[in-house]
Symmetry: C2
Subunit: 167 residues, 2 copies
């Protein structure tokens, strides 16, 4: 895959946040539940985004994470680079270090042009746009495969000391 799984999770979470009507703190539990991602794993992924200043986080009850800038001011490329690093947009197709005009691989020319198209795409796609699209009918953000449970049930199941069956 082009993107690591961590990166995909981070992107999905970012788009989810951008798809909300207002930019408030959302708990990672909620995001993980909606996107059907492991809560603990997502937590770590989002820590990257927080450190990269793309998200802000807040601890304690009613805490969570929120976009640190306007959704229109964060690009897909920003999120990808924060998690997978900028190599995707710089690297040789064959991963050869130092591949460049002076010392190219046989696919250098073709690949650089391809790569810059990719970079342009990711740079121009904003979270705002992606969030809008995520809200459209029949557009989905994540793999809705296995669990039939609504997000809240999942969240309850993940929490450790709350007795279930008391609603």
């Amino acid at each position: 895959m082009l993107l690591s799984k961590s990166c995909v999770y981070g992107v999905q979470a970012a788009i989810y946040m951008a798809s909300l009507p207002r930019n408030e703190y959302v708990s990672i539990q909620e995001i993980a539940g909606k996107l059907n991602i492991s809560f603990h794993f997502l937590t770590k992924v989002l820590q990257n985004l927080t450190q990269a200043k793309l998200l802000m986080s807040y601890r304690g009850p009613n805490g969570g994470v929120a976009l640190a800038r306007q959704a229109s001011d964060i690009s897909l490329a920003d999120v990808i680079e924060a998690i997978d690093g900028g190599d995707i947009f710089k690297e040789c197709l064959f991963g050869l270090p130092g591949c460049g005009v002076a010392d190219p691989c046989p696919a250098h020319e073709n690949w650089t042009s391809m790569r810059s198209r990719l970079q342009h795409l990711c740079t121009s796609l904003t979270l705002e746009e992606l969030g809008k699209r995520a809200n459209q009918l029949n557009v989905r953000l994540a793999n809705a495969d296995a669990p039939m449970n609504p997000a809240m049930l999942l969240a309850v199941m993940n929490s450790k000391n709350k007795p279930v069956g008391t609603e």
Copy 2:
């Protein structure tokens, strides 16, 4: 990385073969030496290409592998698909199974167009063309980093029961 390491090795080996003046059996030792790849690992990778009928192989002294078709009739995409599978040219950016027009992810449109460009590029780049380029001055095929040894020395070092120091 877009391509797995196995895939890169396979592509490099295929281009190397195509860069030779004539399509003869070349030992995997020689290829591994020239490209600075682990011999045993490359052997396994090239077995994929042999099974996919892109290479033919011959055992015993003076044996090796050779292109099974004309270099002009094998595309980069052929090699990539034989090793990494066709998913690269089909998969959703986020790896969502079933992502398509009926049930798209927010990046579906942009990505499919990107992806088909990529596929077109890889399909139209032939081993012949890449092999020619590999023969040009200052174009290199592999990471020539560490070992200063010429390929033959490497080959000798790799062989197990030949005493070294008898040249």
